[in-house]
């Protein structure tokens, strides 16, 4: 379209000001979530039209300030400077105006074209406060628009304000913070910077001067990048800082922050009327119980159990109900791909089905993910998350984690059943970079749903008499392995990563809206699908090659061809004795078998009699001869059907044996053998190694591969055949295998999430490597150690449990890096009774 103008509008605001509600109010459903380039900070964009103007709205991260200390603040600031939005809507919580103005004034100092959006005016009214909007507008000299975004009020006014401001040329900011005794220094520095043609064009001069006096690294970098004589300007800034400190005895950055707060307080005092009597808010009352010494943890426990019950237990049921959809996808691809062969299938079919099955295995979890994401959104929107962190921070901090590490660990499956993918995704909320990385590293150690089948097989086969105890062991020991590991990582590889202060706002509780929850859940599901499914399909191809190639040697192929020929010959001999002679030839045998399979597929799940007859009729019309054999029509039909069953049995046997042989001869099989010298200390032979290697794509594979290796289709009663196939296996072997599975490296989809959340391939590889090594170490310790000490499986189990609990307790006592620093740097003042 011609004549249409596009303007870029940014949405800024402090956390908990209702910014995302305003975003949704303005853009409606059309939004797009991505990351800011190069960082893990989420960037939400949306677009809408005001008359003939097309508005591109970008949601900046919620920040209290605009310093360069936190990633979010840097991202927001860089966007304002580099992308130069035509309008910045600053969303402020009207009921908390004084604090929110702190950001507004900084935006104005950057000479951004600001509209102050006083949001949550409904809360302002409910609390009996009054804001003089006209006076505020006059004092600040910028448009001020009150809204009640949650109730959908104020959209029109906001749009008008955006349109008006977008058409104007930005003038100098109307309101300037008076920095008092620092002003002369700002003037000197600003004068020097203004003389430079480059910096003064790229950046607001007064803002750069203030930032340099604040000792802001990034501002110094900006000057270095643009100023013709940067060193002189920076030296001048340094001397101004020194002189100011000498004059006033106060550091400039502190003076600047205090002056800003003083300015906010002055403006708020003139524009906000607070109610005479202070009322305790409902949130305060609720917190009396939610954060209570006894009730707090109890309520937390109930909430977490409800979360588990709904997402995992109910979600699993829901996934089961939804399975026919994915089953239909599998059936459909089985129908359209090239037909199956007798012993082996055409490449396109084998590969196609493999990829489809790998993908549906993940899609199967969608209902669980959807419930999980919705529940997390409820916890986030309601304001409970900070309370959770408040209650548990002390405990988790001892291990280098954060109060908000709880949720990711629950999602990962802190007891049994969870999934590391949403767990790793949920680490996003942790504000402390070091604790966040530590959490990302341990979430895959939790017991995800896909690890459970292997546990069940092993417990069923080797700990059948103490099954409940063994399950309790594996379900809880993971936590006692994960906590010490988190601490060790914190003390070693993560030591240099910045640890943020805990200081966290506890916003009032909000009743989440259904729309808001669903929107968030769908956003995350979409992100999950985009990130994961494509990669899973790609990896499936690689794994397919690894377990199928180089393939069977020629002599074995001849052997299976012989089996096929003998079976078909027998069948043809039977055909010759029936009325079908001449109508069924050798070439028809395989098609008859496939005809029968596709009839079975078509009828799967069909209970309706009429529908069933319709399917029969369709197949009969398709090929009456095949139909007669398959449906045992007539005396000869019955006879041939019996003979066909024999061929089918031979075919199944040949396929199973050929597959097992192909596995053994494959690249993965060679790897399994090559690893045996190392894994023997953990009690794993090459067969187990193959099963474990195949689990990397998805952990469910371990059980399925064991089934294939021990000669079974599907996984019914793998434990029986495993016991029979591995006569030397003891419960100690099984224990080592279970522990290795517990520590198993993150599966491919989780690894992708780790890479995404840690924003580094290095961390992903580290996460895979350390868990593999740790798993081998633990399994070897338990197996070799247990054998040397002559322990039974059960004894070794509890000895190891005791060891883990003891390690956890010892680790809790080792001080964290900053505690050590604090102890070393601060005077040896003993901690008094209030803080211990």
């Amino acid at each position: 379209m011609t004549g249409e103008k596009t303007v870029l509008v940014a949405l800024a605001g402090q956390p908990n000001c209702g910014k995302s509600t305003v975003f949704n109010l303005l853009t409606g459903a059309r939004q797009h979530v991505a990351n800011y380039p190069g960082v893990t900070v989420e960037k939400k964009t949306g677009s809408f039209a005001i008359d003939d103007i097309r508005v591109e709205l970008v949601d900046l991260p919620g920040t209290y300030s605009l310093t360069s200390y936190s990633l979010e603040e840097r991202v927001a600031r860089d966007f304002l400077i580099n992308d130069m939005p035509s309008v910045v809507i600053d969303v402020a919580d009207g009921s908390n105006l004084k604090r929110n103005l702190y950001l507004t004034l900084q935006l104005m100092e950057m000479e951004a074209p600001v509209i102050l959006n006083l949001n949550m005016m409904d809360v302002v009214e409910r609390r009996g406060q009054r804001i003089d909007v006209d006076r505020l507008r006059d004092m600040l000299g910028i448009p001020v628009v009150p809204t009640k975004a949650k109730k959908g009020e104020g959209k029109a006014a906001l749009r008008v304000a955006v349109k008006e401001l977008a058409g104007k040329r930005p003038g100098p900011a109307a309101y300037k913070i008076d920095y008092g005794p620092l002003e002369p220094h700002i003037d000197v520095l600003a004068g020097a910077i203004a003389e430079d043609p480059l910096v003064s064009v790229q950046y607001p001069v007064r803002w750069i001067a203030v930032k340099l006096l604040e000792n802001d690294d990034r501002a110094a970098d900006m000057v270095k990048g643009a100023h013709t004589d940067a060193d002189q300007a920076l030296a001048l800034a340094e001397s101004c800082r020194l002189r100011f400190t000498e004059e006033t005895g106060n550091a400039p950055e502190r003076h600047i922050a205090f002056a800003r707060h003083a300015a906010c307080a002055r403006i708020a005092a003139e524009t906000v009327t607070l109610p005479a009597a202070k009322k305790r808010s409902l949130s305060d009352l609720a917190d009396r119980y939610v954060c209570h010494r006894f009730f707090g943890p109890l309520i937390l426990l109930v909430i977490l159990m409800a979360l588990y019950q709904v997402a995992i237990v109910f979600g699993n049921w829901l996934a089961l109900q939804a399975w026919p959809i994915w089953g239909a996808v599998e059936d459909f691809s089985a129908d359209v791909l090239p037909a199956a062969g007798f012993t082996s299938d055409p490449l396109l079919r084998a590969l196609g089905l493999w990829v489809v099955k790998s993908t549906t295995a993940i899609l199967n979890y969608l209902p669980i993910f959807f419930l999980l994401f919705s529940l997390i959104a409820i916890l986030e929107d309601s304001g409970y998350m900070p309370r959770m962190a408040f209650i548990l921070d002390r405990l988790f901090r001892r291990f280098g984690l954060h109060g908000q590490s709880t949720l990711p660990m629950i999602l990962g499956g802190v007891y049994v059943g969870g999934c590391a993918i949403p767990g790793v995704m949920a680490t996003k909320a942790i504000p402390d970079e070091r604790a966040r990385l530590a959490t990302i590293m341990i979430v895959p150690m939790m017991n995800c749903l896909a690890k459970v089948p292997l546990y069940l097989i092993l417990i069923g086969a080797y700990f059948a008499d103490v099954g409940g105890l063994a399950m309790f062991f594996i379900a809880t020991v993971t936590l006692f392995m994960a906590l010490p590991v988190a601490k060790v990582l914190t003390l070693t590889v993560l030591k240099r990563h910045p640890s943020a202060p805990f200081i966290m706002e506890m916003p009032p509780y909000h009743l989440p809206t259904i729309m808001g929850i669903l929107r968030r859940a769908f956003e995350r599901i979409w992100l999950f699908l985009k990130k994961i499914v494509t990669v899973v399909a790609a990896v499936a191809v690689v794994v397919f090659v690894l377990i199928n190639y180089p393939g069977l040697p020629d002599d074995r192929r001849v052997h299976y061809d012989g089996m096929e020929n003998a079976a078909i010959k027998g069948f043809m001999a039977d055909v010759a004795r029936t009325e079908f002679v001449g109508r069924i030839t050798r070439a028809d045998v395989l098609p008859i078998i496939l005809f029968e399979e596709s009839l079975k597929r078509a009828k799967r799940g069909v209970t309706d009699q009429e529908e069933s007859s319709a399917i029969n009729a369709r197949f009969q019309a398709d090929n009456p001869v095949y139909y007669a054999v398959v449906k045992r029509e007539g005396k000869d039909g019955k006879k041939l059907n019996k003979s066909l069953k024999k061929v089918v049995r031979t075919r199944k046997k040949a396929r199973r044996e050929a597959r097992a042989e192909r596995f053994e001869a494959s690249f993965l099989g060679s790897m399994g053998r090559a690893l045996e010298p190392v894994t023997q200390w953990a009690g794993f032979n090459w067969r187990i190694n193959i099963a474990l290697l195949s689990a990397f794509a998805a952990k469910e594979n371990s059980a399925a591969t064991l089934g294939s290796i021990y000669g079974l289709d599907g996984d019914q009663s793998v434990q029986e055949s495993m016991k029979a196939g591995e006569s030397g296996f003891t419960p100690l072997h099984a224990l080592a295998l279970m522990l290795f599975m517990a520590l198993y490296p993150p599966c491919v989809p989780t690894s992708i999430m780790v890479r995404h959340q840690a924003d580094s391939t290095g961390w992903m590889l580290f996460s895979i490597a350390y868990q593999t090594l740790l798993g081998l170490l633990v399994a070897s310790l338990v197996f070799t150690g247990g054998r040397l000490l002559g322990l039974t499986g059960l004894q070794a189990m509890w000895a190891f449990y005791g060891l883990c609990v003891a390690t956890t307790l010892i680790m809790a006592l080792i001080p964290n890096p900053e505690e050590r620093e604090a102890a070393a740097s601060v005077s040896p003042e003993p901690c008094n009774e209030h803080c211990s």
């Binding site: 209290y64 300030s65 310093t67 200390y69 936190s70 908390n96 004084k98 604090r99 702190y102 550091a251 950055e253 502190r254 922050a257 205090f258 707060h261 003083a262 307080a265 949130s283 917190d287 009396r288 954060c291 209570h292 010494r293 006894f294 707090g296 943890p297 900070p386 962190a389 408040f390 209650i391 921070d393 002390r394 405990l395 901090r397 910045p498 943020a500 202060p501 805990f502 200081i503 966290m504 706002e505 506890m506 916003p507 505690e819 604090a822 008094n832 209030h834 803080c835 211990s836």
Partner: protein, 73 residues
């Protein structure tokens, strides 16, 4: 005296900040400035962190961090 020494229920006024760098900046940005009214609301179940009421809203903070905030009653 410093903020970490006070018991729940105590009201005080912030006097000074004794830390610089990221922690100091974060405290200032969240609204800790001389003259700000502070009330200790409650300790967490495991005592640390502590929830305070700061000039109209609630903030939780670890004792380690509260130690850098000078207050007067």
């Amino acid at each position: 005296m410093t903020l970490d020494e006070l018991d729940p229920g105590t009201a005080c006024v912030m006097a000074d900040l004794t830390v610089d760098g990221a922690l100091g900046q974060r405290l200032m940005d969240l609204g800790f400035y001389p003259g700000a009214a502070i009330e200790i609301v409650r300790n967490a179940p495991l005592v640390d962190p502590v929830e305070i009421h700061l000039d109209g809203y609630h903030v939780s903070i670890r004792h380690d961090e509260a130690r850098h905030i000078e207050v007067t009653l």
